[in-house]
């Protein structure tokens, strides 16, 4: 399986909410961006069936700050083709504890998916595509920070990464959501997360699957 070089992307914005699954109805964010949120940012810029992103590191560049607000939302999910929906009759007032003024440096690479990548696909081609798109600020859909409404500013990140909390050697974050494992039944995967001098090191799929009790 061919793997690309490592890219470094800077993503930040005024608001972010990487919702903890256990506090999802009344949303509360994790302290740092989750690997799946980072994957989402990258996929917003470039995704093809032939490639799969793997996030390696998330460096926290701005101190963790919180904010909290209440919004009127609804209880149902959108259904395609349903036209007679009245939001006022389906209200859910929900609280959100979100992060403010976040800034991250995401280090990630992608690999070609066997079976999906055709003979005309190669790593170099997608690498160049990604670089070009990132440089120009192009995207498939607006990149966001955890929730669609919290748009992200995304740009290439230079060498000069300066995480906050450099002096804290190892700060435990507890079990953090890793990603969904899609299959016959979808299940959430978790991993033991630490901030090492301001950097979250993200383990690979196999390691996480082992921690989650293997494949069901």
């Amino acid at each position: 399986m061919k793997t690309s070089k490592r890219f470094r992307v800077r993503a930040g914005g005024p608001l972010a909410c990487f919702t903890r699954p256990e506090m999802k109805a009344e949303r509360m964010s994790y302290e740092v961006m989750t690997p799946s949120a980072a994957r989402g940012v990258l996929e917003a810029i470039l995704w093809k069936p032939a490639i799969r992103w793997q996030v390696h590191e998330i460096a926290v560049l701005a101190p963790v700050r919180w904010t909290s607000f209440r919004r009127n939302e609804v209880n149902s999910r959108a259904v395609v083709g349903k036209l007679d929906y009245v939001a006022d009759e389906d209200r859910a007032q929900r609280n959100t504890v979100a992060l403010r003024d976040v800034d991250y440096a995401i280090t990630a690479s992608f690999s070609l998916v066997p079976g999906k990548a055709g003979p005309e696909d190669n790593v170099r081609k997608f690498e160049e595509m990604f670089e070009r798109r990132l440089e120009k600020g192009q995207f498939f859909h607006a990149p966001y920070l955890g929730c669609r409404e919290f748009a992200a500013r995304v740009e290439p990140m230079g060498e000069d990464i300066r995480p906050v909390d450099l002096e804290v050697e190892r700060r435990p974050l507890g079990l953090v959501f890793y990603d969904f494992e899609f299959g016959e039944s979808t299940r959430p995967l978790f991993f033991e997360a630490y901030l090492d001098r301001g950097v979250l090191h993200v383990p690979g799929w196999d390691e996480v699957l082992k921690q989650n009790g293997g494949r069901p």
Binding site: A25, N75, R77, A92, V97, L175, F180, F190, E192, G213
Partner: protein, 587 residues
Amino acid sequence: MMLTALNDFARARGLIDDPLYESKPVDFLIRLDVKGKFKGLEYTQDENGRGISRRIPRLPARSVNVSAGFLADNTKYVLGHDPEAREGKANKGVARLAAFVKLVKEAVAETEVPELRAVAKFLDSEAARAEALADRNPGEDWTGSEMLAFVVGDSTRPVHELPGVEAWWAQRNAQAVAIGRRGLCLVTGKIGVLAETHPKLKNVPAAQSSGAALVSFNAKAFESHGLVQGDNAPVSQHAALGYVLALNDLLRRSDERRFRQGVELGEDSVMLFWSNSTAAQERELQDVVDPTEERLRKLVESPLKGLERGEFDTKRFYAVTLAGNAGRVAVRDWFQASIGDVKQNLRRYFADLSLGEDTGLKPTPIWRLLKSVETPSGRGLPSNVAARMMSAAIRGHAFPRLLLSAALDRLRLPPADDKFEREQLRLRVALIKATLIRHSRSGPAPLEVSVSLEPTNRAVPYVLGRLFAVLERMQSVALKDLNATIRDRYFGAASRNPATVFPRLMQLSMNHLHKAERDRRGSANWLEKTKTEVMGLLDGKHYPRLLSLEDQGLFAVGYYHQREALFAKRKGDGGGTPDAGSDESDD
């Protein structure tokens, strides 16, 4: 992390030593003979009419559903007796009783305990149940929430505590666990049986009184990828019980407090805190943050002793702010640090608030501080101000700026109640002072605000505040017993637009001076001297046209400092001002 910390707390304090049982007050024991014949009700209440706590099989989570306890439950389940049942409303009595009986019969079928058979027989007979109801003391009403349990024969041990029965209960629960889905628990990080729904929290403000869930997925919009209920956030049953028991323990009402270990923040939220230190440490911190009236009296003797460095300073401190939202509980804020850091932040909080010579570092409950800046109409501050203020106190952050404008607005209004006016004024200005200090710590230009009068401070708003206090004093020396003083009339305008008000005030003061010189020459001369001193600190002759919110705050602090200084002077050197004794009352 939060749930993990709570679960650890529950384990450390032994709250889940006994997951199948809980401690609940039982009001009555139903005594049966070995054949199941009713013999009598036994009252187990103490002298206050409250049931004595007993270990009973843990009751299931209930909201509107019918779900029975095992061998011990309330009268609605045990006897099918619900005094609140009204016509037109679905009567659940039959279903409840059936659920209770079903569990007992299950046990009878699988064990050889004769006492169980007696209970089953009693429950089967409607006449016997009616007999039990009729055995109440005459005139005694049951609300339906009285707890009942059974004893058989001459035993003193309730049926649910018999060894055979306990063994069956344990086995039955083990079976229920065995059929549950297993997976990685995101609280403990271990593989365990996952909870489908979580137990409920009781006593959260603004939540349903029957209980509300912290972790819940009760609408489609809260679920992801077709996962239902607990699968959205896999938590083991054990951990779910653990964190809920921990929170319920902290939320419990105690004799002195609405929340055993929590600070009430406005109408709709509560900050709970705990640590991995000792319960005594937690109590001490709570007494400082949110002292009860009784504790306040004791604290005056040795204020803030609880904040001195101690052996537990490296232990962890956790705080969570919860707010109810009907059937759900929302987390508003979450904080963790070492106990030492929290103590240091709290010390600074009290230092920032301290004002005047004789007050020292005296803790004031946060609600009282905020009450002092509310408008007299009773319309309170926005509900989250208390939460933000508390969060700023334990984190050492700036106070909400809103407090500054609220306090200034309150100062502009005439005093509501003369009796508490002096104390209220102190609290208001203390809040202004602390807000200014904290604001400037994070801002560019440091604003120095001291605890008591600074005779050399040349900041214009501060000096103007002092001048205003002197002018007010002159007026009160000249004209006693006024309906409206210059403070009532001009404080707001003077602090906002000095240029438009001060010239007029100076004019007035000349009149006051003349009048005072006639009656009380000593006081008048001395005040005139002070006035000249203060005026000397203003370099130019021009008063500023407009003061910013922060400057208005500084004005208020200057006013307060000078006012206290005048007051102290008069009290202190009675000989200096000839008629000091005569005007003691007009403050």
